[in-house]
């Protein structure tokens, strides 16, 4: 790693101030950023750890029936704390990385990083969340702008994620056998007003909504409704783990499994 200073603010205000420093970088749980720093893929002059900000942690239901999760809440906490409210989301959180990773990694960090193989972006997009930052609220449909790219401005911090709760949901991923990241992951969320389907791991453009599947499932929420549907292979990631056509095929398979298991 290159050398850097580390700041440990205990309030959001202090964190925003610290992130105003030249070449400052926010540090969530560090489960992606620290390995990247070790590979010298990033060279911040100062890291601002968000882990000590109590106001950014925790899970609660608000009066509007939204599940509100602080941006600094770990995957492990979501896995336990969301079970009663949103089992599909809790199950997703319970299968990110491994237990020790889940004790550090945070939802805000995952969404801000927008790794094309991360799980949380699929949940956020399929649920139609509102992402709250220190300056504004951003709809999920406006947040994800492509691989490792989001609507966040420099120094902007995700403080909270508000999840509408679907009637039924499920996330299924096909794990890349070595890294255990999602080679393809599909989150299906059935709301009264329609079904949303989000796909991670597959596309060169990062997480995306599979609108043809949404239309079909909104009319008929069954595995059979997806028969004959497929996503075009030209935008899919192709690497030594799978061709573009293979990933496109997996999208439909994972979506069917998610519909079959949704509850």
């Amino acid at each position: 790693m290159y050398a850097f200073d580390i700041e440990r603010p205990t309030s959001l205000t202090d964190a925003v101030t610290a992130l105003g420093r030249e070449e400052a970088q926010a540090l969530g749980g560090g489960q992606t950023l620290i390995p990247a720093l070790k590979q010298r893929l990033a060279a911040p002059s100062v890291l601002v750890s968000l882990a000590g900000i109590a106001e950014m942690k925790g899970i609660c239901m608000n009066d509007a029936g939204l599940l509100c999760i602080g941006g600094g809440t770990t995957h492990g906490t979501v896995a336990k704390g969301a079970v009663a409210h949103y089992p599909g989301l809790a199950d997703l959180a319970a299968h990110i990385g491994d237990p020790a990773v889940r004790n550090r990694g945070t939802i805000g960090g995952s969404l801000a990083n927008n790794d094309p193989s991360a799980c949380y972006p699929a949940a956020a997009l399929a649920s139609g969340v509102t992402i709250v930052t220190n300056t504004r609220s951003i709809a999920a449909d406006d947040f994800f702008e492509g691989m490792f790219t989001t609507a966040l401005e420099e120094g902007e911090i995700i403080t909270e994620v508000k999840f509408p709760i679907p009637e039924a949901s499920c996330y299924i991923k096909f794990e890349q056998p070595a890294s255990r990241f999602a080679l393809v992951g599909v989150f299906v969320a059935k709301f009264a007003e329609g079904v949303r389907v989000a796909v991670t791991g597959a596309s060169n453009n990062g997480v995306f909504r599979w609108t043809a599947a949404e239309t079909a499932l909104s009319a008929n929420f069954s595995v059979g409704a997806l028969d004959g549907l497929s996503v075009p292979a030209q935008d899919m990631i192709a690497d030594l783990h799978g061709t573009a056509a293979y990933r496109a095929h997996l999208v439909a398979v994972m979506a069917k499994r998610a519909v079959a298991a949704a509850k």
Binding site: I6, G30, P35, A100, R180
Partner: protein, 161 residues
């Protein structure tokens, strides 16, 4: 340099560290607690697992400065007060849950964290919990048996054996 103070194995410690000093470097190089191992340094293998405020974390993927004010427990604090092996450690010995021993500190720390939350895990739950701990010697069966035994359960015949 940043000043960092924490409790490690019940003792208060304080040092000046660089921002980039990892918790595992702090434990091994500054405190000379070399029981915590660095296997991969890429967050994969789990040989560096310690407990921070009671939760298992990979100490190669956390900065020492992030443990400010925390209570850290390492493998050095796992033995009984008289120095004898504790239940989990003894079970690893009894069931031959180690060969070279390099992964063992992380295995014991992860197993202990599992049993704290889930005192009677099934074989499948143990296998899933150890997803982030890699052993290149035993093939895991004896580790699973050791953890089943440490939790006071019957040792199942493991199908793949």
């Amino acid at each position: 340099m940043t000043k960092v103070a924490m409790t490690v194995n019940g003792k208060s410690v304080s040092r000046e560290v660089e921002g980039r000093t990892l918790l595992v470097q702090f434990l091994r190089d500054d405190l000379r607690l070399t029981g915590t191992h660095v296997g991969c340094d890429t967050s994969q293998c789990g040989a560096c697992v310690v407990h921070v405020n009671g939760e298992a974390v990979k100490s190669c993927t956390m900065f020492a400065a992030e443990a400010e004010g925390a209570s850290v427990t390492t493998i050095e604090a796992m033995a009984n007060e008289d120095g004898s092996l504790n239940t989990v450690q003894q079970a690893f010995q009894d069931y031959h849950g180690l060969q070279c021993g390099f992964c063992t500190p992380g295995m014991v720390m992860s197993a202990t964290a599992l049993l704290k939350d889930n005192p009677k895990p099934t074989e499948q739950e143990i296998r899933e919990y150890l997803e982030g701990n890699i052993c290149r010697c035993t093939g895991y069966h004896n580790i699973i048996k050791a953890i089943m035994a440490a939790s006071g359960q019957e040792i199942p015949a493991i199908a793949a054996e």
